[in-house]
C-alpha cells in the first residue's frame, strides 16, 4: 500500500515564474492538505481540499492556489514566485469522515527560488 507520494522531489525556479506541485494521497484517503515548511521552521497550513473544493485556507496570498481531481490527487500552484517561497512543501492526506483519523504526510517537494 503506497503512502502519500509527491512530485517532483526537487525543483528550482526563478523569481516571477509559476510552479505546480503534485500529490497523490494514500489509498482510501479523500482529503488532502498542503503545508509550507521554511528552513528551520515548523510547517504552516496552506489549504485543504475535499470533494474537489477548498475547504479551509491558511494565511497565504492568492498566489497560492490548488486543485483536487476526481481521483483525490491534488495540485498546488504558486504564481509570481518570490524568494521567500523557497521551502519544503508537504502534502498530507486523511479519511474525511473524522478529525480523529491520522493525517499521513508525504516526503515533500523542495522548492528553491533564485
Amino acid at each position: 500500500d503506497a503512502g502519500v507520494t509527491q512530485s517532483p522531489t526537487h525543483l528550482i525556479k526563478t523569481r516571477g515564474q509559476q510552479v505546480t506541485l503534485r500529490c497523490s494521497p494514500k489509498s482510501g484517503h479523500d482529503t488532502v492538505s498542503w503545508y509550507q515548511q521554511a528552513l528551520g521552521q515548523g510547517p504552516q497550513f496552506i489549504f485543504q481540499y475535499y470533494e474537489e473544493e477548498e475547504r479551509q485556507r491558511g494565511n497565504f496570498p492568492d498566489r497560492f492556489s490548488g486543485h483536487q481531481f476526481p481521483n483525490y490527487s491534488s495540485e498546488l500552484n504558486v504564481n509570481a514566485l518570490l524568494l521567500g517561497d523557497s521551502a519544503l512543501y508537504l502534502c498530507a492526506s486523511r479519511i474525511r469522515d473524522s478529525l480523529y483519523n491520522e493525517q499521513f504526510f508525504g516526503p515533500g517537494t523542495r522548492l528553491t527560488v533564485l
Binding site: 515548523g42 510547517p43 497550513f45 485543504q48 479551509q56 491520522e102
Partner: protein, 111 residues
C-alpha cells in the same frame, strides 16, 4: 490567538539517557494535540495524539506524552534514547481542519 511553542530549539542527550521535549499551547477550547517526528529527507510521522481521556498518552517507538491542562503543556518523553531517535520533533495543535505546528526541536544523540 492559537499557537504552539517549543521552547527548546536544540537538545543533545547521550544514548540511553532519558528525554523530555517541551510543548506549550495557547487555545481557548479543548485541544487536540499531536507529536510528529521528521527525519532528514522524509515527511512527518505521527508519534502520538491526545484528544481526550487519559492525560498520559502512549505512542510508537517507546514515546509517551503527558497533557497538563493547568500548564497548557503537552511534553514528550522517552525513558531511554536510541541513536536512531536523532531527528526533528514537532508538536501540533488541531484547529478545525488545520494543524498548527510549533517551531520544532532538533534532537541530537551522543554515543
Amino acid at each position: 490567538a492559537q499557537s504552539v511553542t517549543q521552547p527548546d530549539i536544540h537538545i543533545t542527550v547521550s544514548e540511553g539517557a532519558s528525554l523530555e521535549l517541551r510543548c506549550n499551547y495557547s487555545y481557548g477550547a479543548t485541544p487536540y494535540l499531536f507529536w510528529y517526528v521528521q527525519s532528514p529527507g522524509q515527511g512527518l510521522q505521527l508519534l502520538l495524539k491526545y484528544f481526550s481521556g487519559d492525560t498520559l498518552v502512549q505512542g510508537i517507538k517507546g514515546f509517551e506524552a503527558e497533557f497538563k491542562r493547568s500548564q497548557s503543556s503537552f511534553n514528550l518523553r522517552k525513558p531511554s534514547v536510541h541513536w536512531s531517535d536523532a531527528a526533528e520533533y514537532f508538536c501540533a495543535l488541531l484547529i478545525g481542519n488545520m494543524l498548527t505546528f510549533g517551531g520544532g526541536t532538533r534532537l541530537m544523540v551522543k554515543p
